[in-house]
């Protein structure tokens, strides 16, 4: 009698387990059906293409220099003070890994006169490069100049009146060619700044 009861219990348990199995199977079916039936999806692709940009400009006033006679006879001419009223402004977007430089050159330098152009810190946003320490020197015999800003990546200096690296022009007379310095009318010196692509950094 006791054995029979145990057998019946086992049957009941098996029956219960089978029921659970069937229910689990059905619920799994239900979930699978819902997962595939309750939603539908589609895709779309958006492209934003940034092209290379190389814009360069200047803000400020033209520099004007004049040598003056010394106060005391026998002294040298007095060189004009530096001019720092010009700002170099640029926008640059480069392909990853590449960089640009800004160089300065002049068309001419009066005999016996030297000039130096030095850029201040670029500031701005992004990678506006670094100013070359000491700037670029020009003499009558050397007008091709060189880089004043290097390692420019993608960035912009800003376009406000005083945004961008401040350029300081310093003019002096060349002591080694003193004998070539003559009184003359004004000489205009054209300074050209060039933004150039460089090979991979």
């Amino acid at each position: 009698m006791i054995l029979l009861t145990q057998t019946n219990t086992q049957k009941e348990k098996l029956k219960g387990n089978m029921k659970n199995l069937i229910l689990t199977f059905m619920v799994t079916l239900l979930l699978a059906g819902m997962a595939f039936a309750a939603s539908d999806s589609e895709t779309d692709t958006t492209h934003i293409t940034v092209n290379e940009v190389a814009l360069l400009g200047l803000s400020g006033s033209l520099a004007d220099f004049a040598f003056t006679a010394p106060e005391d006879p026998g002294d040298t001419l007095e060189a004009p003070g530096p001019d720092a009223n010009t700002y170099l402004q640029y926008t640059s977007t480069v392909i990853s890994g590449l960089s640009r430089t800004i160089s300065a050159s002049v068309d001419t330098m009066p005999l016996g006169v030297t000039m130096n152009i030095t850029a201040g810190a670029p500031g701005g946003d992004g990678d506006c490069g670094e100013a070359v320490v000491g700037g670029v020197d020009f003499t009558t015999s050397s007008v091709s100049g060189g880089d004043i800003i290097q390692s420019i990546g993608s960035g912009q200096t800003g376009s406000g009146a005083t945004d961008g690296p401040n350029l300081t022009y310093t003019v002096d007379f060349d002591a080694t060619s003193w004998d070539e310095l003559y009184v003359s009318s004004s000489t205009e010196v054209v300074v050209t700044f060039t933004l150039t692509d460089m090979p991979a950094r």
């Binding site: 309750a38 895709t43 480069v94």
Partner: protein, 220 residues
Amino acid sequence: MSKYLIYTILISTCSLFATIDLTVSGGNWSKILYYTDISEGPGGDFQYYYESGASNTTINISGCSSTSDRWEIQAKITAIEWHDSLNLSLKRTSDGTGSGSIDGGSSYIELTTSYQTIFSGMGSRDGISLQQKVSGTSVSLSAEDYQIEITYIVNDLTDSKFTESNPDFFEDDSHFSELSKSDRSIPHHLRSNSPINQLNTEDNSQDNILKSRKNHNVSK
């Protein structure tokens, strides 16, 4: 057993017929930024954001069984070639046409890598327009083609709270509080909005039956 099999067949059949279809057309917005987009000239920057046309993307919802068939549109982004400073947003610019209704999404919603609801509605609707906006554009980005994929999904809210975008729904016990007492009755335990609750109920009831019978036998 046959009773349960009938339930299964019925529910599977219902699920198949309850499908809401999503169709996305247009799209593939492409914005190319040139130096001419820098209005300030040298030293200036691109605009901070750019928008597509107001009807750049069109969505159609079809297959609803009635005007009270509720659905929601969700979207997420998957970067293909993207930059962290760029953000993509969507907004709905038209209601489309249809006998149901539509709600939400009229202001820009910034998309993330997780699904989020853009708008919702009831019944089939055609010609729902979407506009895209990309923000964070700057010349500080490298010059290249940035691409991102938007995945749209329609969830049938009437049919089920279980969605592809919410696979953890059944893991969240808070949803069970939404079930009414009647949901717990055995004949309705396979209703599509409460299967786990009923599974638990059934499991418990089976355990209780076994325990009861076992105790009874032992006492004999």
